[in-house]
Symmetry: D2
């Protein structure tokens, strides 16, 4: 896992800056014979695409992805797949005033301290636009997963946005795609929208919690100690811009439980072991149990806000920063398809790893 | 980062099972010329060692570490350092009844499903004993860090144990080493102890939150996108047994904040930039700011409890499991030195990476 | 080092097929602040470009490289550099007859056996066109090396082509760039040309030996045991299409020497240690000595020839293959800039590794 | 592939110095369920062990290997296998005079220049003793290969030693194990022995060529571009101490051939494709053809000789070095089992990689 690469056998390297000519992902290790076309990838990119409704930045990028290699006559060949998204709506004039100023909450100051120079236009490499490349790569991973594990389903949704909290009693998987917040509770969406619009009008922004679930993951994926399934999921989610916390299953709340409460008891079901609960989030000892794999992550509030914040210039002089331009009041919304993409990449990677380590043949049977 | 290896340039591979002849860590990439001896490593291992007080398992392992390679006349040579800890108090008869039974909350069932066989004695590879090897490796990392960044300090402590919560207003850095809970509040320790002893007597266990802080980390460590400092910290902590959540700075609570609340405003101090707060946990865009690096993780309650839990045998038949043997009522306590060790490894790794990428020479100056 | 990636800290991933829309290289780990532009890279690509003289294939590709990321206002930013070369002169009709036929000496049959499908146009991924991406990446490595080690020089040349053998007594470093064969002996070039044209007219091809030398490499680069400088150079050269042998210094001929003959005796020179000879090729124990680093590799004769060779079709039926299309009679010629590029990548990678491991500060002094 | 680690999925990290307490290998990624015991590994170590006959160093090390982890009741568990060999016959007094002197042809000077310090006893990390760890790890690889690909056979032998050259017309596979030189020509062994003893009496040493063949390797192993099977074999062999050249199949001699001579023509046999010849060494486009995989490497003459050679001391002053101690007159002999071990590791690694990438299921059929 190098600096801009993620994964063991299914390896994604993203490249590109917010306002350069293009950005993309180099995907190495996709199995051969998977059916892929640009339209399949585009559906996931469209889910992440800005400018779709008033709860998002109004920057309008078509985010059209092109496949430059690794696919022949609609099938992957097993060689590297290059995915390119050209930047079209760059308006870099919006960002001219940040050349010598460090925006609080942004990577401006740390990139400067590390590298001594940076592409300041739109945040350069640290822009959330980088996640478009991840979503495209995640589309490849989804297609490969579906070919290898028919029926697998990966879905993300919001469970919190500032003071708004999902009511688990009203959880509705089928409602998720029907509202601007990927909210599994259609009835609550208008309240969330009113809340977010008030934030925006107040020149403010707000954080969020995103939960991603994978259904149909076979038991046995993962690895001991460092390349555990949960380790790689934690890394995957924490690598997304603005993420500050990652939870598996019960997550931080596990600290409040007793051993008797936390135990997921085991029963023998018709198709194999079943569990009385899923505090573990589908992972025991770093290896999948066959239950739903459940990951949750917190996204901090957008740092680019219209309210002035104190900062300094490159020469150390004090200033106040008001970040104009077009920004999402809650980047957590657009983090939903990104989290799904990372989940797909990690599960596929571990499926390939498992196959390499253990093979498709017989392994531990129960019952 | 392979299956049992952690790190980019400072690479730690742990090996060994709970009840095999020995366990240890192969440490590759330690800079040459660092002063090391076994006694230095032993002090950290003693911190993690079981059997020291009544809040821990009474398994009594001396956990004496031997350096088998990579150190000559008290100095590292730049070649791999092999650290070995022999297992002495193995009492595997305690575990005989788990050969065909899957303990709820343990990796027994997933290891079986993955590999088809496993070393069942004491949890084998998935035992918390594996973390002794991490602590030894962390001792190497600490020594190298101190040589390269004089004054750097890494410290872990508990902030929660079940219903017990650290009162931040009473936070006392100097109290941490003075009680059995690594609690930064000496006055609260008796109450925590009473709470834990009650749990134990109830044949129960409890979860915990551990916070690890690194002071004196230079600005500029980290890398863009996938090998971010926070990504690697999240992976490091999530790779520890029983960890279910990881937070950087504000962590999951960032979801509840607005952009104006979350902004760490920047000022020019005498020695460089300073910040009004540290919601970011010392990391912006994956790169260290020079503030304290703050990581927090939740440890689930010990799964090995004396209260019976429902489970199945390898043949699918139902059973009840009561895990006898000597177990910690709160594994979170012993996770404190493990978290410190992982923090030390990650910071050193990124220091070396940064030096490789950018060098020791001039980079971005401020003021 | 993954499937399509080369390097530890300076990592090059190539992608793209011979007749797809484009090919290129994702370059991760280039230090920040290196001056780069497309014209600098183009000079190296032009050296490898086909269609320049009658000793090369007449396929005419401009091989114009575009920098899509990682460079801002003419300087590298430390983030991934995407290099893209669009394929323009594809003429895939030349290759139509190979869809179901395996060309002897080509990867057609093994790609089919491995993947079950492949892009057959022009050899797809296994085409020598892939090396254009390496040459572009090598241009980045050269620029970074020159910034970090002023005066370093990397040069490749031919020492053998079939029956033609370089006369070492006439070796002339300055002659290399003045003839079609990168031959360090201007006087011999006409004879080599006549020989090669005869081969071509006979519908045949011929192998070659290429030698690459790096002057000015500092002592101390390399690593123990597996990531030795010579290990990585061997891997680098063997990874080039059609290469069948790699030698460091004395190479295979070392087997014929006695210990007294092979010893490079050491003297103290004005600027440090000097050696009586360079049988070692500038590398001892995997680490550079400060002498010239000397690597040699053999390129097999072009497998695509107009003389019929026996083979089989995908259904197993026998056939004869005559490879039409435009092919180099000696691919060794165009392997010269590729070998230089790989040398530059390996030396830079080890320079960065060394800096990460050991730093820019004091290390072992002599005298 | 890090500094002291070799392999992608089957990863071997060696550790230890010649005269430290122990050396060994950490083997990660061995499939579960492989039958292993110490006696199996010992047979390969005994093949490499010094002191067995007068053609070897008289250093007498039992080289007894212990398995410390990863094997339970005689079977691998899929977790890391730690192999330890204790150093017993260390006699470090033999080496006392080299503390401040650089032996020509040794890594003394480059280790000093790189690290500023080193373990000088017996060459420390750069001693050929390191290869004992490789041979032990190779024993694991062999056992796993035999379980996965029944009938696979890996064998090394000498083809040259100074002026002595194997007569290919007398090649006898069954003779290899019957003489001190692993020579596939029993009749020639006495002449080789006389030649080597003369070298020794002349206070000299001599180089060698070792060839390693793998029979029964399935078609389809390898990977495109950088992780080619031949790339990894070249790296594997070049990483062995004293190796200066590596060849696949025709090797360097490919440069002398024409395209018509070099073509391995393809026929349909009863069990799949067959070839008229094997100039390719069983690898096309980086992927195995199903033929014998043939690798050859040159080992330089032992640098430790009793004839004085000019050198310098650490302070730059001139000196003459006569290396006393017990040294092999031809290290090539003991490189034979090391080359076999590396071949086994690479083939197994690519078998696992292939399974991960492509699976055990259907792929390209022929006929």
């Amino acid at each position: 896992m190098s600096l801009n690469t993620f994964g063991h056998l299914f390896r994604v390297t993203t490249w590109g800056e917010s306002h350069g000519p293009a950005l993309g992902a180099t995907v190495d290790g996709c199995p051969p014979g998977v059916t892929i076309d640009e339209a399949m990838l585009q559906q996931w990119l469209d889910k992440r695409r800005p400018g779709q409704n008033k709860n998002m930045t109004q920057r309008n990028e078509p985010d059209a992805v092109r496949i430059l290699s690794g696919v022949y006559e609609g099938q992957t060949t097993g060689t590297p797949i290059q995915l390119m998204i050209e930047n079209t709506d760059q308006r870099s004039r919006d960002y001219g005033d940040i050349l010598n100023t460090f925006r609080p909450g942004h990577a401006d100051i740390t990139y400067h301290q590390k590298y001594g120079l940076r592409d300041p236009r739109g945040g350069g490499r640290s822009s959330a636009r980088e996640t478009a490349a991840r979503v495209a790569a995640g589309g490849i991973a989804r297609a490969a997963l579906e070919a290898l594990v028919p029926g697998i389903a990966i879905k993300g949704y919001m469970t919190r946005m500032g003071a708004m909290v999902l009511d688990r009693a009203r959880f509705d998987w089928d409602a998720i795609d029907g509202n601007d917040f990927w909210l599994p509770d259609a009835g609550a969406a208008p309240e969330w929208e009113a809340y977010l619009q008030k934030m925006r009008k107040d020149h403010n922004s707000v954080g969020a919690v995103v939960e991603v679930v994978a259904r149909g993951v076979p038991a046995g994926l993962g690895a001991p100690v460092y390349a555990k399934l949960d380790t790689d999921l934690a890394a995957a989610m924490m690598s997304i811009n603005a993420v500050k916390g990652v939870e598996i299953g019960e997550g931080m709340a596990a600290a409040e439980l007793s051993g008797t409460e936390n135990a997921d008891e085991i029963f023998m079901g018709a198709d194999g072991p079943e569990y009385s609960s899923n505090h573990a989030g589908g992972i025991l000892g770093g290896i999948s149990t066959g239950q739903e794999v459940v990951v949750r992550f917190a996204v901090k509030p957008t740092s680019s806000i219209l309210s002035p914040r104190k900062s300094i210039r490159m020469d150390g002089s004090p200033t106040e920063v008001v970040t104009k331009g077009r920004h999402d009041p809650c980047v957590g919304i657009r983090a939903v398809p990104v989290g799904e993409a990372m989940m797909a990449c990690v599960i596929l990677d571990h499926l390939l790893l498992h196959r390499g380590q253990v093979g498709d043949g017989p392994r531990g049977q129960i019952g």
